[in-house]
């Protein structure tokens, strides 16, 4: 059995396959269907300082090989999350990564500071790239200066492993990757969903209440691989590859282009055990190809 363990900052994972924020709830939702202890990590849905309700419905629409969502970051707030979900999550032997967001830099720092003291939280993923909140959050991910300021502000208030999550809709992803590294991030994750929209031509109305949303699922995989490849080439900190993973091959592509770990998103909706199936597929691949450990595969794309 090849060694699947991965270390990212102070975070130790048994496998390189986590579940992506917003696609696995807070854990209990899938606990009957998936052995949570076998996941590399659980990244919970985005948490802010205070509760929010999120967008009106319809919130999602299925398109060719993808799902557009404009959920709008409904969240129970820091207190609600810690009370309602942390006791549950602490029962498991799986790292918890909290995805955090805010509408201002101060809000980001405030929620990060509070999580620093919460027992059982292993890392923070900074969602600067959610395209659904109009009030500024969209900008954090596509304005290099704002991005840098958020990461720096959060870094100041926490010792937790810090993982800024990059937005795909930028011209040069390497600049964001480097800015994260320079601002003290322990790793980066990418990609978040890709801005998209759909219109019902009979009613001439947008298919989402929010008009625009973010595309995820198999259709974005090849875009994500390209961005992860570029980002991984630009920094020394570990990269977490996200976007359109359905099969072990999809995850292996991320590892081969330079990701140290991956997260499964939309595919969990279709097949809740996807992350575990992908893990098994990676192990089988490593064995078949004679790798002793998953980290040996990382970044081995052959240039010829």
């Amino acid at each position: 059995m090849p060694d699947l363990s991965v270390h990212i900052g102070r975070l130790k994972m048994k496998t390189p396959v986590m579940v992506a924020s917003g696609t696995f709830g807070y854990g209990p939702e899938y606990a009957d269907l998936v052995d949570l202890n076998k996941l590399g990590a659980i990244v919970v849905k985005g948490i802010a300082r205070h509760p929010t309700r999120g967008n009106e419905t319809p919130r999602t629409v299925e398109v060719a090989s993808g799902l557009i969502n404009a959920i709008g970051l409904p969240n129970p707030g820091f207190d609600g999350f810690v009370e309602q979900y942390m006791p549950f999550l602490r029962q498991y032997d799986v790292p918890v990564i909290v995805n955090i967001w805010g509408k201002t830099i101060e809000e980001y720092a405030e929620v990060a500071r509070r999580f620093d003291e919460v027992d059982g939280v292993h890392a923070l993923e900074i969602n600067v790239s959610c395209p659904n909140i109009k009030e500024g959050s969209g900008l954090f991910g596509t304005d290099l200066d704002m991005f840098r300021r958020v990461v720096e502000a959060v870094r100041k208030v926490t010792d937790l492993t810090l993982i800024p999550k990059l937005a795909p809709n930028v011209s040069d992803i390497r600049a964001y990757a480097r800015a994260a590294e320079e601002s003290g991030a322990d790793a980066i994750s990418l990609i978040n969903s890709v801005p998209a929209m759909a219109v019902d031509v009979e009613t001439r109305k947008p298919k989402l209440a929010n008009v625009t949303g973010g595309l995820t699922g198999p259709g974005i995989h090849s875009l994500a691989v390209k961005l992860v490849w570029e980002a991984a080439g630009a920094v020394r900190i570990p990269v977490i590859g996200i976007g359109g993973i359905v099969t072990a091959e999809d995850a292996l592509e991320f590892l081969i282009v330079g990701a140290s770990a991956v997260a499964v998103g939309t595919a969990s909706f279709t097949q809740p055990t996807t992350a575990l199936d992908v893990t098994d597929g990676i192990a089988a691949y490593l064995e078949r190809h004679g790798y002793g450990a998953v980290h040996e595969l990382v970044g081995t794309m052959s240039s010829e």
Partner: protein, 220 residues
């Protein structure tokens, strides 16, 4: 053939021993692809999920209201009741009216309305309900209604339930993503304790709600 990404929600139509039946209509890419399945093909299914219809309360008279796949969704409930009542089936035209024999075989009286009059009375299902209600002698047992169909129909049933003081359970039809409460696609506004509202997930906290729980006026 188009490929669909997500699973699709279906009601259990019949479940006997090792056999589970669903009754579905090909309306889009997912259901149309299903028509290509051949005997022996394997499918993946997660279920049962969510909160189904509750049993009839002691002493109440049951009515069922169905449109679309509602006939399939209400069959097991109908079979579970020892004293059948009336089932109101509505549709666009005759081919939309399904399972009538099955319900009658269970002892239910089936009243049909179609918009084009090709089966039963011409009109919409609530016409038929209103006619029954006004003809009904007062003083009978209190009514408990169970409805499944288009949201407009559910809303119309809810209005009558409030007016006539019925208890009424409606199974809402929301688009779904995950089916287990994780994606927050299927939410609808239900009353909270006070004057306000909160989102509830119809996949886990529904799809069946007592009609008074739902904020119908906030429905788009």
């Amino acid at each position: 053939m188009e490929e669909s990404l997500l699973r699709r929600p279906f009601s259990v139509y019949k479940a006997d021993g090792e056999v589970l039946q669903i009754l579905y209509k090909g309306v889009g890419k997912g259901t149309r692809t299903m028509t290509y399945l051949r005997p022996g093909d394997q499918l993946s299914l997660i279920g049962p999920l969510g909160r189904g219809f509750p049993a009839l309360s002691e002493g109440r008279y049951p009515i069922l209201v169905a449109g679309g796949y509602g006939m399939a969704a209400l069959y097991l409930l109908a079979r579970s009741m020892t004293s059948p009542g009336i089932a109101f089936f509505g549709g666009q035209s005759a081919p939309d009216i399904l399972c009538v024999d099955e319900f009658e075989a269970l002892g239910w009286e089936v009243r049909i309305t179609t918009e084009d009059g090709s089966s039963g009375e011409k009109g919409i299902v609530t016409d038929s309900i209103d006619a029954w209600w006004s003809a009904r002698s007062s003083g009978g047992p209190p009514v408990e209604a169970y409805a499944c169909g288009p949201n407009a129909m559910l809303k119309a049933v809810a209005r009558r339930a409030v007016e006539h003081d019925w208890r009424a359970w409606v199974s809402v039809d929301r688009n779904m993503g995950c089916g287990v409460g994780a994606c927050l696609t299927c939410v609808l506004k239900v009353r909270d304790g006070g004057d306000g509202w909160q989102w509830k997930r119809s996949c886990t906290e529904g799809p069946v709600f007592e009609c008074r729980e739902i904020c119908w006026d906030l429905e788009p």
